[in-house]
Amino acid sequence: MLTQLLNWIDSRTGYRGLLRHALDEPLPKGTGWAFTTGSVLTLLIGVQFATGVGLTMYYVPAPALAYDSVRFIMDELPLGWLLRGLHFWGASFIVIAAGVHLMRVFLMGSYKAPREVNWITGVVLFLLILAFSLSGYLLPWDQKAYWATIVTINVSASAPVVGEYMANILRGGSELGALTLGRWYSAHVFLLPAVLVIFIVAHIALMRKHGISGPMTPQPGPPTAFFPWHVMKDTVMMAAVFALLVTLAVLFPAHLDEIANPADAGYIPRPEWYFLSLFQLLKYFPGPLEPVATLVIPGLIVGALFALPFLDRGAERHPWRGSRRVVTLAMLALIGGIGHLTVLGLLDMPARYDPNDWGPQSIAGRQLATGPDNTCQTCHVVGGPAAPLAITRITKDEEWLLFHMGDPVAIAPGARPEDQPAGRPRLFRLQAQAVVSYLRRARAGADDVEVSPEDLTAALTFSNMCIACHTIAGEGGDTGPNLSLVGIRRDAASLRSVISDPSSEYPDTLMPAYGERMTEEQMSAMVNYLAKRR
């Protein structure tokens, strides 16, 4: 019955002939494990397509919503964290696999005549993969995504003459924002996959047209069939790489920073590791020389890759014989340089403050928003006029929140008629700022922390009296020194003496004496808390 049905389908489509053509490809004798790199790459691209389709069902390409939708995928969607984990790690795997594939073709001289166009489509595919990485990086709209993209676009803006136009096209305007996200999303999800598929089809068709290049020195003997002899090797490599991918995605779930905050100039952006070498290169070409690092050097490398089959035209395929030594040395120098710069870039990673380190401002904000007698619960209760804070996803920007907390009745700026005066502010500016800080941390999914009553007193005091001038855990002013790690420099007694009377140590300081302004309870909580920050 099934055979009859298949016979009928075959008679109408000829699928068996196609299948046989695909599977019975004759491979030169001695085609070994080195020729499995392309299959691994194809598998990884397939996984990216599948997981990408899943992510697209939940992802929303609009600022703020983008972040919340990714947060939803990570925290609430069953298996969503693994779906994103596979897509996230898959991106790195593809860059590595593409690099390995390219090196295999290079070392075995497989790009030589008549396969020049195979090589050129391969280089295009490599560039497309990098474009995927770049465009996908922005989509989660967290701090890392936002600031890394700022850097990427500034790099393109450094190009002479056309730079600013290019940057404006990439951004969809003069500022990075909703229009940027829209076009990068469209490119990542529609444009690039379409172009990628076209080039993969061309790449594989050309591979079939000229046949596999086979071992560097042809071996006598009849060719072997692709299926199942070589497919077996492909399958073993694919299984190994896929198992590693799943393991990494399970053990190290993809990260999501806090939501992109364009006002946070303190954030030090870092690109993903495969762009780190370019990023590092920028440091050696400051000012007017910058285009050397952003355009000239990468342009020469890509140009050399495209030109390679026309520069190295001899019949010799062995990487270390005759004139091939020159190109092999050049390639090794390039890889060594990229590796060296990447390591330097990794060593130069800035110390990032831990998102789970609740600074005093967030602790104070949590107390104000959720502690006993908080003003939020006037409305934000079960069955009340507004949803309880615990289940409220913050979808408003910080300016809105600050406004709302100063004047909760006016739930939109301008909503209150002008002849109706606003009531007494429910929260003062610094308090509202603290609540915003808490909400941002809660939105980023930070683990809740236990805080002792003394530390709570210190947090409330700090966010009321000190934060305008001092920063802890990335939040606060910069008129005075950063106190994130002040405990290394001073003990409790010396902290007390400086806070009580700063001019005793710094005659020119602007800081007022807080000995009189703080209660003894506040002072002792404050100095004990600061002494612990080390």
């Binding site: 298949l6 068996r16 299948l19 599977l23 899943g54 919503l65 939708s69 069953p78 996803r393």
Partner: protein, 160 residues
């Protein structure tokens, strides 16, 4: 990369390889399908946690006189938080309170209370319900949906 069974010789090394290839590819495909399918299908079968909402004070209800109240039901809509408005009738009989959804079970129109006839009527196709929710006449296939209620002090709580 599968092959129709009729082109495969199931004996010997070749057949063994073919089976391993098929198994591994099925395992890889199955893993991706599990993660992707799970993430796609899971929300379709997610159950909403019921919650109790205060619907009003017991002493404001008159015997057998339905009162339509609007409940604001907050729920998670994917990544967003939305508030649905749900109109329910509260019908008191003694110390007991029934809560009926106001949506007609025929095609989902909003019903209203007919004070004179002491019945609940649907404006769309003439469905008529009694104060206990039962269908008195017209096309509705089922009684108005009853919601769980409980009395806490003087408050009427409705489960939504």
């Amino acid at each position: 990369m599968t092959t129709p069974s009729d082109t495969v010789d199931p004996s010997g090394r070749r057949g063994f390889f073919v089976r391993i290839i098929q198994t591994v590819h099925a395992a890889i495909g199955g893993t991706v399908a599990f993660v992707l399918g799970g993430a796609i299908l899971a929300p379709s079968f997610a159950k909403r946690e019921p919650s109790w909402l205060s619907a009003g004070r017991l002493d404001l209800l008159r015997e057998d006189e339905p009162l339509a109240v609007t409940l604001r039901v907050s729920r998670q809509d994917g990544y967003a938080q939305v508030v649905d408005r749900k109109v329910v009738y509260l019908v008191r009989s003694g110390q007991d309170v029934r809560a009926l959804e106001s949506t007609c079970t025929h095609l989902g129109c909003r019903t209203s209370y007919d004070r004179e006839g002491k019945r609940i009527v649907c404006p769309c196709h003439g469905g008529v319900f009694g104060l206990d929710g039962r269908v008195l006449s017209g096309p509705p296939p089922a009684p108005l949906t009853a919601l769980e209620t409980r009395i806490d002090g003087d408050q009427i709580l409705v489960q939504v």
